[in-house]
Chain length 281, copies 4
Amino acid sequence: MPALNSDNPKNRPKTESWKTQLYDLIFGSDTPTAKNFDILLIVSILISVIVVMLDSVASIKADHGQLLYNLEWFFTIIFTVEYLLRLICVESKAKYAGSIFGIVDLLAIIPSYLSLFLPGSQFLLVIRILRVLRIFRVLKLVKYVSEAELLLRALRASKQKITVFLFSVLTLVVILGSLMYLIEGEENGFTSIPRSVYWAIVTLTTVGFGDIVPQTALGRTLASFVMILGYSIIAVPTGIVTTEIQSATRQMRTRRSRHCSCGNSENDGDALFCKICGKEL
Amino acid sequence: MPALNSDNPKNRPKTESWKTQLYDLIFGSDTPTAKNFDILLIVSILISVIVVMLDSVASIKADHGQLLYNLEWFFTIIFTVEYLLRLICVESKAKYAGSIFGIVDLLAIIPSYLSLFLPGSQFLLVIRILRVLRIFRVLKLVKYVSEAELLLRALRASKQKITVFLFSVLTLVVILGSLMYLIEGEENGFTSIPRSVYWAIVTLTTVGFGDIVPQTALGRTLASFVMILGYSIIAVPTGIVTTEIQSATRQMRTRRSRHCSCGNSENDGDALFCKICGKEL
Amino acid sequence: MPALNSDNPKNRPKTESWKTQLYDLIFGSDTPTAKNFDILLIVSILISVIVVMLDSVASIKADHGQLLYNLEWFFTIIFTVEYLLRLICVESKAKYAGSIFGIVDLLAIIPSYLSLFLPGSQFLLVIRILRVLRIFRVLKLVKYVSEAELLLRALRASKQKITVFLFSVLTLVVILGSLMYLIEGEENGFTSIPRSVYWAIVTLTTVGFGDIVPQTALGRTLASFVMILGYSIIAVPTGIVTTEIQSATRQMRTRRSRHCSCGNSENDGDALFCKICGKEL
Amino acid sequence: MPALNSDNPKNRPKTESWKTQLYDLIFGSDTPTAKNFDILLIVSILISVIVVMLDSVASIKADHGQLLYNLEWFFTIIFTVEYLLRLICVESKAKYAGSIFGIVDLLAIIPSYLSLFLPGSQFLLVIRILRVLRIFRVLKLVKYVSEAELLLRALRASKQKITVFLFSVLTLVVILGSLMYLIEGEENGFTSIPRSVYWAIVTLTTVGFGDIVPQTALGRTLASFVMILGYSIIAVPTGIVTTEIQSATRQMRTRRSRHCSCGNSENDGDALFCKICGKEL
């Protein structure tokens, strides 16, 4: 998650050279020039994603197909050059290429080249939108980054409870879907167990597309049960995440409260003595 | 938000005159006359909004079109006069015209005049309903206002976390929508990426209109994933807002609580003696 | 709410007589006979509600119409007799007839007689189901009653915040519905402002029937906004109620904690001195 | 719930024999052989569930019907042998056969034999998926088991509140459904009270299939009320479960926390010194 905040500063070339300057321009965001570079980059990414999306609309493609095609390649070439420059100016090529941002940067150009052989794959270019996450670094939105970290910490802390919950939900939809398949049968749209399980997910999550609906009295009764169940157990992930967000918020506030000279900075707000070394605060 | 509670009292004319009296009548709500004026105004607003809504129903318009038209102009003229009076009796015209209530008061009359040139724009008159917010002041619903303020404070405190959450959701629906476009294709209703992104929003938010639904096995599998995701991550805004409402509530109660010279500041609001040292408060 | 727990014992006839015995049988639930009477009553109510529901199913009515009709009148006569007996044996007729249970008891028989003049009104008999609430008293489900009271107290405490929230939601759907009416127009199903407001409610609450759906690009964009809004602000009532349930739970536990001989039983769990009289606990 | 964690160790044969060895292999998960046995079992279960699901898809059955049929019986025979071995090697046959896992193990093979007389019942084999719950024991996911226990404890603690809530919801949907039946009538799809109650459940839980929708102005108004109600009262189960998950979490953490002889029992779990008096713990 610190990756959201900044690229790895240890990857900056040690000897001062044109590489260092290039590194500071591309990876940095402290100088005005570097900041402008980043803003230009984000605007390019957003435009290029919009271009890809518009290219998929038949009526727009009919009118402006050539323009959109040219723009797509224009941005692809720019991002390719940028990726190569990033590779060149880092101390360890492998470290950058293997980092999350490095992978996303690469994925953001591959689909264009792929589309030469595999028509349609250029739509995968929307993955470029992930690059916009750099916006947090550019705008120095420290507060936003720390909030994002708090949310991530809460989600990570609730990982095991959420896994148990999802596991139970999956078991449930398999059994409920199969029961509906037996009750309703193929003549009412429940043509197979996988499709009935899909219906059970649509219903339990309260999405309710309505493309498949029970037709028999027994089927409606079971469906009612599924709906009330889904309506009630949504409380479980909510309860889990709320609890974790609260304790993450409390920890964050506590951490700011009482620091001790022994280095322990996790004393409670009402502590009179350091809980690690016993010294009076 | 204090604007919900009262119009700016500093804008009252300093010298006593007919303007002051008018000001007290229109802006005030302390004298019975002023209160009656406000109640009359709110009733007028509500009726005028209902008139606009009925005017849009074809069958009602066919029967009572002329009556509704006349009523619309009747209320517009009344509200125009009222707006001019408000402008006249305040100390600083600019301050009132630039305040939220001043803008809403103006917006509430413009559409009628606009409809002379741009038929249909009279339906924008429903914005008048915002004027009803004055009801909080009229009825002296102090308790309600303070609760509204607490909610607003909680929402404001969670602004950054909510922004991060919405930002992630938007990134997610763009990527998921594009994937569905590639998987399902135009023959199954996913005619373009923007439309597929719209489907992803419909599904992730558990709305589920059912106008576009996946038809392929792979599409249904991805849709299942989107639904379970939407069902689970609704826990995030809920957790954020719950945490903030709780701490806003606690702050409000603490502020009322009783401090003791022994250092204990956690006595209840109704305590007469400190619960730790027993001293009278 | 105490009404859920017991009928008003002050309404028991003061002089011992056959009325007192009848009162203890019908209103009481302490003796085995009284308990059996109550259980018999609840079973009758449930059967009678099921009879009404089955009577509305065309195929069942065709086959068993006469039987269901007879059963409806059988139960109506029983409940009428029961209502009269209740009226007779209470000390103050007005007090019983005006209590919530008295009104429900009356409403549970009126529709049958009404249906003689107004066919169809017998379906209102389902209101009888409210009488089943007595089940809490019969089964002496003290724990359940106290939990129901806790929930009611939490809801009552959040009444003002919920009102503010609902008021904002109503204002919102009026404005959003009108905008959709202007954007989509009659040709896309948004035939009037009231209907568009209905659509806005369907969408904001994430119900999503799909009977009316936006067809234009701009309409879909606004719909996306409405959906994400609805998905997010569901956090507000949730946060409000969660906070109140928590503090109601805490209060209930605290109240059990420290009683003082001065009569104050609301000292905190960690209090050393009574917060009202200052005496050491 | 400890059953999730381990089979009852008291059921291990007391005298060392081939039965004991068999017991350790089948029921144990400590030796590498026993662990491999368990993993093999879970993989078999998952494959057998997938076979059942695929068998219900018409196109797949047409092509690979015989293969799927053979696989189903292959797994059924394996699981039957396994069940008999389990029965043989336990100390008390009745204890195992009556335990939750014993019942699930039996239910997982019965449908195959039943399908010989009752075609279609083989689809009930999906109940085998419940056997996968053993995965928690196999993988020694102690942390996951304790989280599952915490969730179960929270759900059990909120049982009474949830019951009261569900009871109220059921009462509500019966009354609201009947009202809609009276308002909309058979010509608008509300063909009977049970069906209208089904609609009320679909709407109140915000599922919104859209197969039945109100057509009259009054019906839409009531539907709007039902939707806003459902949107708001989802806060109740959420509030209940959140409160219980929080207090279960707190209890679990407190149990680990450190008490001091000065009376302060609120030291953190990692504290070495009392935070109030500074004494070493």
